[in-house]
Subunit: 232 residues, 2 copies
Amino acid sequence: MNASGLARAERRGLADEAADRIRDAILAGHFEPGSTLREVDLAAELGVSRGSVREGLGLLEREGLIRTAWHRGTRVLDITRDDIQEVYSLRAALDRLASVTAHDRADDDRLAELDRLVAEMETALDREADRAELVALDMAFHDAVYAAAGNARLTTAWHAIRSQVHLFQLRRVELALDHYRKRVVKEHRQLARLIRSGDPGRLADVAERHVHSARRGLLADRSIPAERGAAP
Amino acid sequence: MNASGLARAERRGLADEAADRIRDAILAGHFEPGSTLREVDLAAELGVSRGSVREGLGLLEREGLIRTAWHRGTRVLDITRDDIQEVYSLRAALDRLASVTAHDRADDDRLAELDRLVAEMETALDREADRAELVALDMAFHDAVYAAAGNARLTTAWHAIRSQVHLFQLRRVELALDHYRKRVVKEHRQLARLIRSGDPGRLADVAERHVHSARRGLLADRSIPAERGAAP
DNA sequence: TCATGTCTTAATGTTGACATTAGGACATCG
DNA sequence: CGATGTCCTAATGTCAACATTAAGACATGA
């Protein structure tokens, strides 16, 4: 944003558009974890050329949602216990920095946005919103924390695992909805309060614990394999 | 690495090759910070097609070394004080996690590699190695720490700022070589020792301070502008 | 003289054709 | 019968032509 408060106009290319569609399809469960994505099929379905699809897949690879190997195609990330450990360890470190930085630098608008999202979570809970919506709000809250921190590199690092976290959280909520419903509002409200006016040391601890609790919830699922299985 | 200790054979495409060449050229100072990169020129010089160059530039954009805007070309990152704050804040958080994880999980080979690199720094200092070589060793040490941590996502996050750190460190050493020479071996030796056998809390602190001291050294340079100047 | 609209152009965005490759099917040999 | 070598094919990797665009040069008018 510049001095007059206007955000710079941004036009996007077909590659970004393609990436958005494919990401949504993956998160909606349209592609199984571990399944392969064929460029030519995607290009036909999206109505764009393979070049654009290819560039879009490059973006999704940055997000860690897919993996590409030389002349061997691209596959959707399949969830293993190691993946969970890696992603949530990194996320804890990033959330810690984001929370503390937001505490230092956030203005009133940003802080109000956090409160607003917590309130929206509450109403969503009351009207028995579906899982996808709850998780979307959860993600939106953390997006807002990163936005409040105002560190572009930090936000980029978050984006590099954001889609994976989204995928994992969907799985987690699917497995233990009641447990999640009981904690989600309380934990985020505590975070919002500490970011607004709390002890930085305690905030850092709570931010890390928030992530570790999510990780534990997911690792409790015994159906997630420890290693990458060779899918035929 | 798999059970038999063999790393999987990996073939690279022209895009990776092009990215390597362009990155080297930028770090060698062949392209001024803020200057524009024309795809067609790069393609001609490298002897590959624009498609490959374009894909390579996409990789460099992940590394934060260049920025691309829709139909407005790509430019080499120009250093501002804000950039330094952002990169080193994030780096402190990542190094903290990497050091502590390496302390938990590193095997003897990884630890020996750290000691070897510190020793190599000493000899480089003795024979008055040039700035580029000293910085390259510095980077190699931290690469080794990340490798020892063994978290692929963490390493990816490091790679997303690695080239920028490299660029910044070159600038820093250029400005205060003596000061750098005096500290580099001592600080890295301390890090290596704490990673091998130290108190995790203290290790985390030292890892963060190591980064903050680098940041301060760079911010001491008054010639770095606070904001992005509009280059003609 | 300055603001506004039009035109030009040099660059990027996009595309479909062509080249190369990984991995399996099959045949061959020990 | 198992191991090895050869071919085939479906996919990705690469390329060069074409379409679109951003931004400046220029002309026009108040």
